[in-house]
Symmetry: C2
Subunit: 129 residues, 2 copies
DNA sequence: CGCTAACGTTAGCGCGAACTGACACTCGAA
DNA sequence: TTCGAGTGTCAGTTCGCGCTAACGTTAGCG
């Protein structure tokens, strides 16, 4: 089951989810917010008090983070408590591991090709694909 | 050696480096480029041919990725070959692991607090900090 | 009901960033 | 040195996004 349209759709969906995660985490303040609620559950007001921007801005950041699945919201009276959602980082974790291993692999292959070139004396070595 | 100004500077430097990494990876095309050069070393023209945007745009993307330390450039005649640089992902890897473990920890503590509340019958349990 | 606290939402503004097109540069070959 | 291939760089435009201010909403109290 490789290369079928259903697999393409799944790939596209993963990419879209990863894109949302990355765009959410690309903002320094959103990373700071995530760090806060990763250590303890906090109310929107408490989170906003930790920064020097308006509560409106923080609320929008919380909306983005929640939309990316990086946060979960729990209501308690008029207050809204937020905490980090570890599973939201799974997609990014997969991407990172994949890129990491692939990068190490291409580096290893280049070293081998370079060594082969030194031994063989300039033969064709760039056909590895 | 904790909490001293030198540590703050190091923290700030790490955050800035992480910010550059995240902003570079926030762009879908840049992630696609990184995937390409993570599997094999490619020239700028070959990379550009893989997308439907102008070579100018791809060149700018390559500049950003190189600036973030995610790519290395190697010149061969008029061609410029690029390949992924695994160490550039180290900072993001650290952030991810930290956020992951912290999120799991706060989730575990909340479950314990909830269980204690069920057993104790509504006693004060939200002082865990 | 009126009132307040705690939030989210909308409209509008300003900045940064991604894209295109034109130009400049650097090799290698004739 | 003249030419073409392969790339980087510089304006200029468009567009997304983070911010603020004002308004709307919901929960709890008297």
């Amino acid at each position: 089951m490789n290369g079928v349209p259903a697999d393409q759709d799944e790939r596209a969906r993963d990419e879209q989810a990863l894109d949302e995660t990355m765009r959410a985490l690309a903002e320094p303040r959103r990373r700071a917010i995530l760090r806060l609620v990763a250590h303890e559950e906090l109310a929107a007001g408490e989170i906003a008090a930790a920064f020097e921007v308006s509560r409106t801005a923080v609320s929008q950041h919380l909306t983005v983070l929640k939309g990316a699945g990086l946060l979960v919201e729990r209501r308690e009276g008029t207050r809204r408590l937020y905490r980090a959602r570890p599973e939201g980082l799974a997609g990014l974790r997969d991407f990172l591991d994949e890129a990491w291993t692939a990068s190490l692999d291409v580096a290893r292959r280049l070293v081998e090709a370079d060594r082969a070139q030194l031994v063989g004396g300039g033969q064709e070595v760039r056909d590895a694909g």
